[in-house]
């Protein structure tokens, strides 16, 4: 082992250092810009944070950016929309996937394979390949500009169902039989044994799906037309407008930082589950 790493890993340190700079630099610049006055940004003095941060964040969070060039709603509302969307999508996907995987794995019934393939096929039908008709269905159901419209159409999940199925197949037969002898029926076994055993899988999926929900773009763009229903990610791009020098970059970057913070915190706080979730869902 040691002989393969005998030299001081200077090269490794340099490369990793460059990687870290590359990773953090854009976020750092966004942060400093959010704390600087527009004049400083225009001059390009971006490497160190300024003193305007508190005011900028207070403005965008609670009043919204109302300048001569734009009238964006308060970011607190957008954050709330994103949070609802991410939580409902993550919880919804997990809930309906865990029960459908349970049905497919622990029961035998006519149409079982058909049901499985129907779920599986959704892997090949992302929103991006059925934009207009999906929009029409949601519009037809009167779900435009609603939380239901933002979330329900996304909570089917082949990935989560496959993951749970995979895990359920590893539960020993004897455990099921022991439960039967103990007198537990299917729902009892599900609630008392299968769900508790699925805890780590649920946590891992939650991280991945929370990020998935938070980072949605095309879907909210299609489904919402009212500014107060926008998610924060959509809100940012609307604030950029023409994207030229006239953009209030300090406000945009403050919003950007707020958009990055929640998913980043989830990843940092649930690092282990995140890695597990990412690797497991690709199996």
């Amino acid at each position: 082992m040691h002989s393969l790493h005998d030299r001081t890993p200077w090269l490794a340190l340099i490369v990793i250092g460059a990687g870290i700079v590359l990773t953090l630099f854009p976020v750092w610049i966004a942060f400093t810009a959010s704390t600087l006055p527009p004049q400083a940004i225009a001059r390009g003095d971006l490497l160190l944070p300024g003193a305007e941060g508190a005011a900028t964040y207070r403005t965008i969070l609670f009043e919204g950016a109302r300048t001569s060039r734009m009238a964006a709603p308060p970011v607190s509302g957008l954050l709330w929309n994103s949070l609802i969307m991410a939580l409902v999508i993550a919880a919804g996907k997990i809930a309906i996937s865990v029960i459908s995987a349970y049905a497919v794995v622990f029961f035998s019934f006519p149409g079982r394979m058909l049901a499985f393939w129907t779920i599986f096929i959704t892997l090949m039908l992302p929103v991006e390949v059925r934009i207009v008709p999906t929009y029409q269905v949601v519009a037809g159901l009167g779900m435009l500009n609603t939380y239901a419209g933002l979330t329900v159409p996304l909570i089917a999940s082949a990935t989560a169902t496959l993951l749970f199925r995979q895990f359920f197949l590893t539960i020993p037969d004897e455990l099921v039989e022991a439960a039967k002898v103990d007198g537990a029926g299917p729902m009892r076994f599900f609630l008392d044994t299968v769900l508790p055993l699925s805890r780590t899988n649920i946590a891992a999926l939650f991280v991945i799906l929370f990020i998935y929900g938070w980072n949605q773009y095309l879907w909210p763009l299609l489904i919402t037309t009212r500014a107060d229903m926008d998610t924060i990610v959509i809100g940012i791009t609307k604030m950029i407008g023409a994207g030229d020098a006239l953009t209030d970059w300090n406000l945009v970057m403050a919003t950007t930082v707020l958009a990055i913070l929640p998913p980043a915190l989830v990843v940092l706080a649930m690092q282990r589950q995140f890695v597990k979730g990412l690797v497991d869902t690709e199996k």
Binding site: S100, E128, L222
Partner: protein, 293 residues
Amino acid sequence: MRRKVIFRNRWLPYLLLAPQLGVTLVFFIWPSLQAVWQSFLREDMFGLSSTFVWFDNYRVVLADPGYMAAVRRTAVFSVAVALAALMPALLLAVMVDRMLKGVAFWRTILVLPYAIAPAVAGVLFLFMFNPSVGVVARMLTAAGVDWNPRLDGTDAMILVVLAAAWKQISYNFLFFLAGLQAIPKSLLEAAAIDGAGGWTRFRTIVLPLLSPVTFFLVTVNVVYAFFDTFGVIHAVTQGGPAKATEILVYKAWYDGIIATDFGRSAAQSVILMIVVIALTAVQFRYIDRRVQY
């Protein structure tokens, strides 16, 4: 694929499947069938009636030089994003794998961009590369580079590729690192005893053993570049300047939602559907191969 020991119940499994199947049928299967159906229809100017036109929409789409340009553009964009996201990720993973300590710490920082939405990554890059205020754009200008993604199509393409790749590096890094750490150290020690130097070991042992991961990541990155980068394009360039960054997904969205040409948008959707099915099939071949190991 089923367990040996199961429960017997006539209606419970259907009840458990109902929510998933309901959402799937209403919001996935039905719209997809609609897309196929609409791709064979043409609406009149006022959207009042439609006629069945067989493959006319496909003929129009495929004969449209604008569409074929978008196909080529998407190919260039996907390959560029995949390369720009895979190479640095592999390099970083190899270096982190060589570290004896602190692997978890470096990993934590390097995976952070995964949490960032593609559109937000686009905004970060838009800001850094903004010709008038961007830090990086200033450096480029100072270095004598004529940089203006708002006017120059190539500059714009480079910008969206960078933004899209930057976000994806963390994902690839994680998988490469996992792949590297799964290689038994004893293999490398055996190779070292056989007289293989560091580079030879990497080329003859590490890369071949990493090939399933690499293959998997290539398909994932292509899928990502095809579909998930809509946000990057929409936030950074809106497909411009002069359609220089209009990739297929963006065009399908634009033609359907903005230009409301449902028939042609549907035909484009169906073509994209075929692409996804092909890519998914490729990806599952990878899983088959891995099962054999």
